[in-house]
Symmetry: D2
Subunit: 373 residues, 4 copies
C-alpha cells in the first residue's frame, strides 16, 4: 500500500496539540509530514519546520498558500489551529479534494458543521476529528460491553470533565498563551469550556452508550477573573429511550489535571472509567466482586479486532494519551487508504457535538430550560 | 456528671439503624438503654429486649405506652422508626419534656419539621438528627479548611450519593424488607431517594461549605421496577453568594455500595472526600503536590478541639461508620448534659433538609425549573 | 446465658491498647468491666476507674491485689501491661482459675510461653491473644479462599508491616511515652520491632495460609537514634511443603502509618490485602479481571458462618480496627461461655510467635543463617 | 546536527522489545532505521523489513553480514536478540567503531560485561542499555529528591518486581515463545528471573539512591513446572554506608502484570513509586500530609533540566512505557551526536547488574550467605 503523505496547518513548536498529532502519526509509522504552515509568525514557522526536517519550499506562510502549493503532493491535511479557522480551512481542503483531520470543535456553529458534513459526503472525502479519548482501548472496551448487554439496559450516566487549567494561568508567562485564546470569544467562539472539553465528554457519552441524546438543560458560570465565556457548566441530559445523564464540565476545577471520568449505570451492572487511570475499566455488580479489566491482559483476547489493534505492549506497561491519539490516526489513515468506514470520529460526530454546544448555550440563556438537541 | 439513660422506639433486631444507634452509644460509653418499644410485633419486641438485657417491665408495645411509662425514667429518646412516624413520636417526646435523637428525614413535610423546631425551642428541649457522615472526622476537617480560607472562595461543588441498593432487592427475602418500605409512599412519604439519602448529601453541602443553598432544579426518575417514588435524582443547586453545585442521588446506581463523594472547588484549591475512604481528605492545588490528610496523623494536631474529640485511635487504624455515629452522639449527649450548644445536626438542619426535599419535588413536577428553597 | 464480668490490668487513660479492649467489648455488649488495676500511679488509676464508673472498692493498686480480691467476681482478666509483666500476670490469673486475654507478645521467652500454654491446658483455662488483624473479616475470608483451593497451592508470600512510629517520637511530649518503653530492653525484652509488630505479621502468615513456617533468616537493624533494640528487620522464611516468604518489619518506615500488607501467590491466583483498606480483598488471576471483594457485599453470603459473624453493617460502610478487635473478643467470650473451641488466637499462637521472635534473633546474631523455628 | 541512522539486530515482528525500540525512536523523531537483521528466519526477516519500508539490500541474514555491509552507513546498532548473543554482537559492533544500544542483561557473565566496558572505553564508543524504568520522569524525580536531601539519609529500601508472566504460559501458543526461551539456560544463561527483571530493579536501587550495594544474600526458587532456572528470588541487600534493602523478584507472582514498586525510607521522609502508576510519586512524612507529585504539574518546574526533557504533554495526560523508552534513547542519541556524557545507563550499569546477578547466584548456591558484589 502506498505510504501516506500529509501537511499540517497550525501546531508550531510550543503549542500543545500540533506536536501531539505529529508524534502520534510517527509512533505507528503511519504517514510522512511533507509540508506545513505552522504559524503566521515567520520565525516560529521556520523554526518548527527546521526541527521537523522540512525544506524551505514546503513551508508556507498560511493555509491558503499551502493548499495551493501542496494539494497534489499530500493525502491529507491536519488542522491544528484555534477554533475560529477550523471551518474555512477544512472547507477549502475538502474542496481541494483532500481528506482532513480537523481539531475539535469542528466549527463555530452548527450550520458550518453541517455544511462541512455535506461537503465531505458530496466530495467523497474523509473528515476526521480527534476526539482522542474515544481512541483509548478501555473506552472502546466499555462500548463493547454495553453493546453486548453486559450491564443491561443503560439508565443513568454520570460524566465529568474537570480541569483546573484556568486556575493556574499566569498571563505574564508565554506558556499560558495556550489557554488565553480560549477565553476570547473571537478566537474561541461563543463557548469556552463546553466547546473545548465538553465536546469530548458529549462524544464519549454517545460513543460508549450507543444512545442518542435528546435534550439538555444547562447552568453555566464564568468563575475565572476576566473570562467573558463560560468556564464551568452543570448539564442535565436526557436520551431517547429514557436514560439520563449528569455532566459536569469545568476549567476552574482547581487542582484537577485532566479529570475525565465516566460512570455508566445499567440495570445489571455499572462501568467506571477514569482517564487518569486510562488502562483500566471497572465493572461493578452487586452480585459478584468488582472486576477490574486491564488493557491487553490475557483474558482480553475475546474483545473485538478493533479493540485488539489499539494495544501495542502488554498489560502493566502503561499506554497513555499518545497511544490513544495514534489509535484515532490508525483508523483514519486506514480509511484514507482503503476508502472504507473505520472506527474514528468524523463529520457526524462533529455535527452532533456542535448541536450539543448550541443547545447548552440556548438552554442556559433561557434560564435553564430543557432544549432539544 | 450524672450518667444518661435512654429509651428507643423502633430498631428491633434485624433492622439496620437501630443496632447502629445502640452500638454507637455503647462504644463511647455514653448512656444506658433502659427501655424500648422496638417493634409492633410482640415476639420481635421481646426478643430484641431480651438480647439487650432489658427486663419485661421496660419493654412496651408502642411508643405511646413507652412515653407514658418511662418519661421520668429517661433523659432522651432515640427514634428509629420508618419516616411516617418520626413527626408524631418526636412531637410527643418533646412535649413530654424529653430530648430526642430522631432519624432522618425529620418529618414528611416542611410544616411538620418547622413545628418540631418551634416546639423544641419553646420547651427548651434538644432535638438531634443523626446525619452521620458529618460526624466523620475528615468531613469536619474539610469544614475547618474551608472556614480558614485554605481553598479560597468556594465556587463549585460536585457531590454524589450513589447507592445500588435497589438493584439487589429480592423481595422474596426477609432482609430486603429493610429497603421495600422506602418505595412505599405511605411509609416513606412523597420522596424516596432524596428523602432517604439526598438529605445526607444536602446537609453535607451546607455543613462543609458554610454556605446556604438558595434554589434547586431537579430531574427525577423511577428506574427500579415497581417503584412509585423517585430512585434517582439529578439536581442543580445555587448558593447565596454565587457558588453552584451539581448533585447526583441514586438508589439504582448498580454495583455501588455507599458512594457518598464530595468535591469542593475553591479559587485556590479543592477538597476531595470519599465516604468509602473516610479517614482521608485530599487537597488539590495546581501549585503544590496534592496533599492527603490522614485522620489523627501527627500533623493534624493543629485542628480544632472539636475535631480532636472525634478520633480514638492512631492514623492507619481505620475508624468508620460506627465511630462517626458515635461522634454525633458524643456531641448530642454532651449537649444533653451541659445544656449548651454543641456540634451536631439538630432542628435547623432538619428543617433545611425538608425544605430541600420539597423544593426538589416542586422543581421536578414543574418540569425542571429553578425553585427557591 | 450468664452475662460475663471482667477485670483489666494496665490500660489506664491515655494508653493506646487498654481503651481499645474496653471499647471493643462494649461495642458488641459482650461483658461488663467490674474491676481494674489500671496503673501503678494511684492518681491515674483512680481517674481511669472514675471515668469508667467503677466504685473505689474495685480499683486495686496492682494486679496481685486485684486477683486476690476479684478472682471469684470475674470471668476473665484482660492484661494490657508492657511486655515484661505479661508472663507473671497471665500465669497468676490462670492459676487462680481465670480465663485470660493477654496482650502480645505473650512473654519474654519461648520457655515462658510454653509454660503458659501447658498451664492453660492443665487448668482447662482459656488463653486468648489479640492478634487483632486476624479478626478482620477480609483476612478471615482470605484464609477461606486459600483453604478452598481458590488460588491453588501457595508458593510465595510477600508480607510487610511498616510503621514510621519511631520517626515521629518527641520524647519531650507525654504521648511519646507510649513508644519509648518499646526501645527499653528491660520493659520490651530482647526484641523491639519483631516482638511488637512482627508477631502480628507472623501470625497472619500461618493463619491465612494454613502452612507452618519451618525456618527463618534475618537481617536486623537499629536505625532510630538511641535505640538499643532492632527497629527494622528483613526476614526470609521457608514453610514446610516448599512455600517461601519475604517479610519486612519496620518501626522506622518514615511516613508510614500502619502499613500491614499481605500478598499470597498461589499457582492459580494471588490474594492482596492491605490493612489500611481493610474492608477489601483483591484476587488477581491472569485469566480473568482482577476481583475486588467487599466485606458484606451481597455476593459474600457464601462465606462461612464464622465470617458472617464478623460484620455488623452493610458493605460501603467502613468497619475498622475497633470492629476487628471486637471480633476477637466475640470469639473469645463465646469460648468462655460455651467452653468450646472458637476462632481466635490462643496459647498455640502465643508459642509460635515467640519461637519466631527467638529464631529471628538467633539467625541475625549468627550473621544471617537459616534457623529452625 | 546530522540526522542519525541506525540498524537493528533481532526484534522481528511479533517480538516484544524490538518494536518498542523502533516506536520509541520514531516517537521523538530521533533517528532513521536504515538496515536490519531481524530474524534468522528469512521469511520473518523479510516481512519485518517490508513492514518497516526497508529495501531488500538493507535486510541481512545475520548480524555479521549486517555489520560487514552497513557499518559505515549507520551511527549506532540496536541489539534486541536473546541474552546469549548480546556479548558477541555488542563486541563486534564496538570493534567496528559503532555506538551500541544493547538489551539487558548485557552479557552472560561478569567477565564479558567488563570486557565490553573496557572495549567501549578504548574505542571511545558509547554503549547504552535500556533499563527503561530509569527513563520514567518520576523515577528521575525521586533520584533528585534523594540527592537534594529531601528525605534525609536513606536507611531502608523495599523494592519488588513481581510479574506473573510464567503463570500464564501456554506453550501451544506462538505468543508464549516470547517467554519460553527465558527458561532455557542455553539462551537465557545461568539466571532467569534475576537476569531478566531483577537487573531492572537493581539498577533502579543504585540509580535512585545514589548508593552502592556492597553485598547480597539470596534465596532462589523454581516454581514454574519445567523451569530449570530460578523464577523467584528473595534477596537481602546491604549498601556501603549502612543502608539496607529487601528485594523480591518473581516471574510466578500469579496475576501480577508488571509490578515494579519502589519504596525508599529516609530519616525524614519516604518515597513511594509504582510502575503501574508511573506518572506519580508519593512522599510520606509524619509531619505533613502525604504529597503526591504529578509529572509535569505546574509546581514541577523546579526540577532539573534533565527531568524537564522527559515530559511531552501536560499532567493528567498519561505518558507510559513508550515515553520512558524514548527518554532513554533521547539521552543516548544526544550522547551519540555530542560525544558528551548524558543521563542513560551504560557500560558501568551493565557491569554492576551482571555482578549483582552473579553474587545472587553465588549466595544462593552457598545456602544463603552474604556475598560481596
Amino acid at each position: 500500500m502506498k505510504r501516506l503523505r500529509y501537511a499540517m496547518v497550525g501546531g508550531s513548536k510550543g503549542s500543545f496539540i500540533g506536536p501531539v498529532h505529529r508524534m502520534a502519526i510517527r509512533m505507528d509509522n503511519l504517514a510522512d509530514l511533507v509540508a506545513g504552515a505552522f504559524s503566521r509568525d515567520p520565525k516560529k514557522n521556520a523554526e518548527t519546520a527546521g526541527e521537523l526536517g522540512l525544506s524551505a519550499e514546503h513551508v508556507h506562510p498560511d493555509w491558503a498558500s499551502l493548499l495551493a502549493a501542496e494539494k497534489d503532493n499530500i493525502d491529507f491535511l491536519a488542522v491544528c489551529t484555534p477554533n475560529d479557522s477550523h471551518y474555512e480551512i477544512a472547507k477549502a481542503a475538502l474542496e481541494a479534494g483532500l481528506d482532513v483531520m480537523c481539531e475539535k470543535p469542528l466549527s463555530m456553529t452548527v450550520a458550518e458543521a453541517e455544511e462541512l458534513g455535506r461537503l465531505a459526503r458530496r466530495k467523497r472525502r474523509i473528515l476526521g476529528i480527534p476526539f482522542s479519548y474515544s481512541g483509548m482501548p478501555m473506552v472502546k472496551f466499555a462500548r463493547e460491553l454495553v453493546a453486548q448487554g453486559e450491564i443491561g439496559k443503560v439508565c443513568k450516566i454520570v460524566l465529568e470533565y474537570n480541569q483546573g487549567s484556568f486556575r493556574k494561568i499566569d498571563l505574564t508567562k508565554p506558556l499560558d498563551v495556550r489557554n488565553a485564546w480560549k477565553m476570547d470569544p473571537r478566537r474561541s467562539g461563543p463557548s469556552c469550556a463546553v466547546a473545548d472539553i465538553g465536546v469530548h465528554a458529549f462524544h464519549m457519552l454517545e460513543y460508549v452508550t450507543g444512545l442518542e441524546v435528546k435534550e439538555v438543560l444547562a447552568d453555566l458560570s464564568s468563575f475565572a477573573p476576566g473570562n467573558r465565556l463560560e468556564d464551568d457548566a452543570s448539564i442535565l441530559l436526557r436520551f431517547k429511550g429514557g436514560a439520563k445523564a449528569l455532566l459536569n464540565v469545568s476549567k476552574v476545577a482547581t487542582g484537577e489535571e485532566n479529570g475525565l471520568r465516566l460512570r455508566v449505570y445499567g440495570e445489571k451492572a455499572s462501568l467506571h472509567w477514569n482517564q487518569e487511570e486510562n488502562d483500566y475499566l471497572v465493572l461493578k455488580s452487586p452480585f459478584e466482586p468488582h472486576r477490574t479489566y486491564s488493557r491487553k491482559a490475557p483474558y482480553m483476547k475475546t474483545a473485538s479486532a478493533s479493540f485488539a489493534r489499539t494495544s501495542r505492549i502488554p498489560a502493566g506497561h502503561h499506554e497513555g494519551f499518545m497511544e490513544a491519539f495514534a489509535n484515532i490516526y490508525d483508523e483514519f489513515c486506514a480509511a484514507v487508504q482503503t476508502r472504507t468506514p473505520r472506527d474514528f470520529p468524523g463529520a457526524h460526530e462533529g455535527v452532533r457535538t456542535m448541536r450539543f454546544v448550541e443547545a447548552v448555550l440556548t438552554s442556559h440563556t433561557a434560564g435553564g430550560v430543557w432544549t432539544k438537541i
